[in-house]
Symmetry: C2
């Protein structure tokens, strides 16, 4: 349920509506909540909930669960840190990690935590900045106003303040989200992967389920645990059947408001090619893992993301091929267009938006392969290349005024970028040769062996040869080398002999040109016209709709509830005892030794995982599930298989969120992992 | 261009029609040929052409090219034999194979060659046998009449005669095809893979092209080269630009006459899952190949088929997602249905056919995973398992009367089956562990870890564990063991302790049940109603249409011609010199050393590969391309990328067949490979 970056919702008639919606915290559907559950969120309650929630900037959700900066998220959200702290000698993914004392807590090299503190509407400023502009000019003006607004919001506190301009309702509203930024985030507890990801890929997105998918982190400021005023203590009993529950997290991306032609482009140029490439990478990693324990350790880290993404995109593709979805989308689009056509004022102003978007889809399709492979660098799948591009472009961009830079290099974004660039996480050359060689091969395959760019890159070498030569010659695995190049700016880059720097330099003009062409020919047109469609929706529905997900804080309300799966009743809860029944002793159904040792002490009847009707999507991983009192009753870590269609619509009959029960967390943290002190900290009100 | 077994054509208005069509030899479009090219095929000409053409039963085309039984096909059609004759010590795929004397020609373990000698119409007999029957009864009656008709046709000569009942026009016509059967087929010449498959996967299905994709075989009878009366000698000059040319080969399968709902089922349950599985297998094989030279040898053999299939299915999927295709299909189907509705007699008799087919698509979709994984055994991807299933089922089936057996076990099919079963080709246990482990994992993934059948098979073991245990315990790699079990019949099977035999026995009831359910609920309904649609087409168009491809002999006529590829003019010929220009020295663009050594002696201006408008599809690989005089002017080995859409329609503007020029074959066979005597044999009239 981490975000998958490929690309707010209409009611679906005839389908249960309750629980649909990923609502911004400044526009909660208070009347509906009151009508359906007799609960109205008060201003203080909302503010407290906002401040108790958190975002992991790399693509997950989290929450504060103690006054001393303790943070709860999923194991799979902290896994990259757990892997980065591991080595050939010490495998924390297999063995788990526990800091019994504060001084044993270890800093994660690349985790940035954000806490939303303020939302400000800047719609008028953004719109007037881009008014009357088209294509490239539109895009540049938008980048410039975004850079200015976020810089103004950050002020002089860029180490602790982060501001993002958020595009809601596809251009219907622009808000500045102001966050407190925590970059010193330390690992406190991670159970063994066998416990966190019990059932592995076969059980992923399925239910019944038995996963202890949790990690605890702690945010530090000035070398000490941060003092946190708003946090969610653990509830006494955890979630109950039919109880109203809230999820506050960061859903990454939904496509519920795309036009029909955009959906078809997404299917053909996004989902299908990505699925095919993920499948192949999966095969490569599975086989690589068999060559030795260290290879297995590295490949497994990659495999989790690959297999998870594969399942997500496959579910999305299946939903998109379902005639029911397309029928619904066609009806909705036709109804909105009829509404616009029936109102002369709207017709003149907005009526052409759909056709305008349709017209650029051909360009979107033609650009998709070079944009993906070259523009976004997927043809160069290697950490070294990512560093090299950041360094090469960064040197160039940072010499420009803030408002004229590519968005990822603005002052507001520099701290996160530098955290990545200076990370002490190790890079593994042999492993990188595999991913780079494969991706170069796929670039050649999709662009053609006779493509001029492909020939420029590979010359007469085979992809694997070329990848090995680059990697054998690079020094970019060393963070000090990267820091020196970053600090040295354009001169350092120009005089570098590092093969990756030279490669990134050589291809940058072409890569930028493709990006620019896509931005002006496709993106700008889609954005301008999506704004118009958003206006049409506001005219039709008012603000009683939620925007598509944008990896910003949203609330979903719902309830604990099983579902009927094609005639089979699925109960909402599993128990700890059920996990032992499912244990076969063979991966991925082998519970860790620590569990068997503690089995006699455990309450086997304790609810373990459960499902609710909340409307979530990738990025919501690690979201707290709270009750009306703002207490933790569960921890979101997944959705059922039907939730994957949630990218395009919400079907309350079968779409379910999957969570770890709060009672299971405290039970096992205390009795299996020796974390009684942490349990005390989490349960203190 | 070998067949890919996943599943006859309407004119496409507005598109060049010339060359469209894969015509049965008893229904050539003589008038069209005369009108377009001033050529009318006479009876003797057709008979001679039929007898000069051949089929490789495993999935390719071929031709006789000398009176002494010399046979020409593609390198990739004989590759399995070349691999089976290779070992860790001697790699004929890398080094090539040349028998300079007859006694050096080596028998291929699994190549059966068929020469069509007679076509007989049995439509009335088949239809009256199934008249008034439905579901299971329909299917059984059809199997029984097929078994009887082919047995009657074979008579007592089953070692040299083969008869198949061929279903043409989806049940519009049933013909018995009587073949001469050659099972003693020996390898004469195969160039290095680097020459045969120069450009590898990147160039596959592309043009310009530079492949010497040829192998020569020789059929033997009674230990001596077979005496062949009808054969195609090589022409003096080979194909010329704009020349009329004929392809006589065995196109495997097209889906040009499926209904809209069948096409959607094919896309969702056939193409997409198969593509995803092939991608993963591809990744596994790529990485397996890196673990050593012997691993590379084994993996590369698998990879060719995997990558080729991947490209085919990807091209098909892209065609199917093209709105132009669907629009055309919708219009055609609507027009035919309107035609039926306008004729009261047809309306009553045939009007319900489309809806009847639509109604069983849901069942087809639901059954597709178990049918594929269990029914067709794709969940058990191992030669050992294939042998085991053949042995287990064969013992059972052979105890029944011929007409009551599963079709693959009838008397008429026994010789080909026994050739496979008793093959001396080696089986490689370590390699089989990889494919079996992966396929079991995919079975668990697609059917679910909680599926009762999956649990029955795996018990508490992981797929890789289970695969290794089976393979470590089996003796089925030994052809003598297989022969003993085959000869021993039911008793031998029942008392066998071989783990694969026990597995095949244990799952056979379930596997048969799924197959039966699919046959009665889906296949029988589709067949019955496809027959009705065929009748509607005959009523609309007469017999001026060709049937969908059925891996039986067809003729396509066309001409040598380049095409316009989105504004870029593609010339019809490449030259031998062009291959040297394309050589980079790095795989797959490295010409073999033998070529460089001979370069000075070669005519670099000699046409090498070329394209024609002929309408072909997978299975046509190895087809002879002949001129009006019945002389070889080329050897079909591929189609361009646009030809992949040929599964669904023929677009004469861009669909092209790719062939090796006959002049390049003689030039290189003589000057590079020392095959002057073979050149003399092939060119003797």
């Amino acid at each position: 349920m981490r975000i998958h970056w490929l690309l707010a919702a209409l009611a679906i008639p005839g389908i249960t509506l309750a629980a649909e919606g990923m609502w911004t915290l400044d526009n909660l559907p208070a009347k509906r909540m009151q009508a359906e559950y007799g609960f109205t969120p008060g201003g203080d309650w909302v503010k407290h909930v906002m401040l108790g929630s958190a975002r992991i900037a790399g693509g997950c959700s989290a929450s504060f669960i103690s006054k001393d900066g303790l943070v709860m998220t999923n194991h799979h959200c902290a896994a990259e840190c757990v892997e980065q702290l591991s080595s050939a000698q010490k495998n924390y993914m297999n063995d788990g990690f526990m800091a019994n004392k504060r001084e044993q807590e270890v800093r994660c090299p690349e985790i940035e935590l954000n806490r939303l503190e303020q939302i400000k509407d800047v719609t008028e400023q953004v719109k007037s900045a881009t008014k009357g502009l088209d294509g490239e000019a539109f895009k540049r003006a938008q980048d410039a106003i975004n850079a200015r607004l976020s810089s103004e919001c950050v002020g002089s506190d860029k180490d602790t303040v982060r501001c993002d301009v958020v595009n809601l309702y596809h251009g219907g509203r622009y808000h500045v989200y102001k966050y407190h930024r925590f970059q010193d985030t330390r690992l406190v507890w991670a159970p063994e992967r066998a416990a966190a990801f019990f059932g592995g890929d076969p059980d992923n997105f399925n239910f019944p389920r038995y996963d202890l998918d949790i990690s605890l982190l702690r945010v530090y400021e000035n070398g000490k645990p941060a003092v946190i005023k708003d946090y969610f203590p653990f509830s006494k009993n955890g979630a109950q059947d039919a109880e109203m529950v809230f999820v506050t997290g960061q859903p990454g991306r939904t496509q519920r408001q795309l036009t029909l032609s955009q959906l078809a482009t997404l299917r053909d140029t996004g989902l299908i090619p990505r699925l095919l490439q993920l499948s192949e990478l999966r095969g490569v990693m599975e086989q690589y893992a068999k060559t030795g324990p260290e290879a297995a350790r590295l490949a497994e880290a990659e495999l989790f993301g690959v297999e998870n993404g594969f399942k997500v995109f496959k579910g999305q593709l299946e939903t998109m091929l379902d005639p029911a979805l397309m029928k619904k989308k066609q009806e909705d689009e036709a109804a909105l267009r009829r509404f616009v056509a029936s109102r002369p004022d709207l017709k003149t102003r907005l009526g052409g938006a759909w056709d305008a978007i349709d017209r650029v889809q051909q360009a979107a399709r033609q650009l998709s392969v070079p944009l993906t492979m070259v523009g976004r660098g997927r043809g160069f799948d290697s950490h070294y290349f990512q560093y090299a591009r950041m360094l090469v472009r960064g040197a160039d961009e940072r010499s420009k005024p803030n408002g004229e830079r590519l968005p990822e290099f603005t002052d507001a974004n520099t701290p996160e970028l530098e955290q990545t660039l200076f990370s002490t996480a190790p890079v593994y050359p042999d492993f990188e040769k595999v991913t780079l060689g494969l991706s170069l091969t796929k670039m050649r395959e999709s662009m053609g062996a006779d493509d001029a760019f492909v020939k420029q890159v590979l010359g007469k070498q085979a992809p694997d040869q070329f990848a090995a030569a680059l990697i054998d010659g690079t020094k970019l695995g060393d963070p000090a080398v990267r820091k020196a190049l970053w600090t040295g700016g354009k001169d350092a880059i120009a005089s570098s002999n590092d093969p990756f720097i030279k490669l990134a330099l050589a291809i940058d003009p072409h890569a930028r040109a493709i990006r620019k062409q896509f931005e002006q020919d496709v993106e700008a047109v889609e954005q301008k016209n999506s704004e118009l469609i958003a206006q049409a929706r506001f005219a039709q529905q008012g603000l009683d709709a939620y925007p598509d997900a944008t990896f910003t804080l949203r609330m979903s309300y719902g309830e604990v509830k099983g579902w009927d799966d094609a005639g089979k009743k699925i109960a909402p809860f599993t128990t700890i005892g059920g996990a032992f029944e499912r244990d076969t002793g063979a991966e991925p159904f082998a519970l860790p030794a620590s569990w068997h040792k503690a089995k006699d002490r455990l309450n086997l009847a304790q609810p373990f995982n459960f499902v609710t009707t909340n409307d979530i999507i990738g990025g919501n991983s690690g979201s707290p599930m709270i009750n009306r009192n703002g207490e933790i009753v569960g921890l979101i870590f997944d959705g059922n298989i039907h939730s994957l269609g949630g990218a395009f619509w919400y079907d309350g009959r079968i779409n379910r969120t999957v969570a770890v029960h709060s009672g299971a967390i405290t039970e096992m943290l205390g009795k299996i992992y020796g974390g009684e002190n942490l349990v005390r900290e989490m349960t203190a009100h």
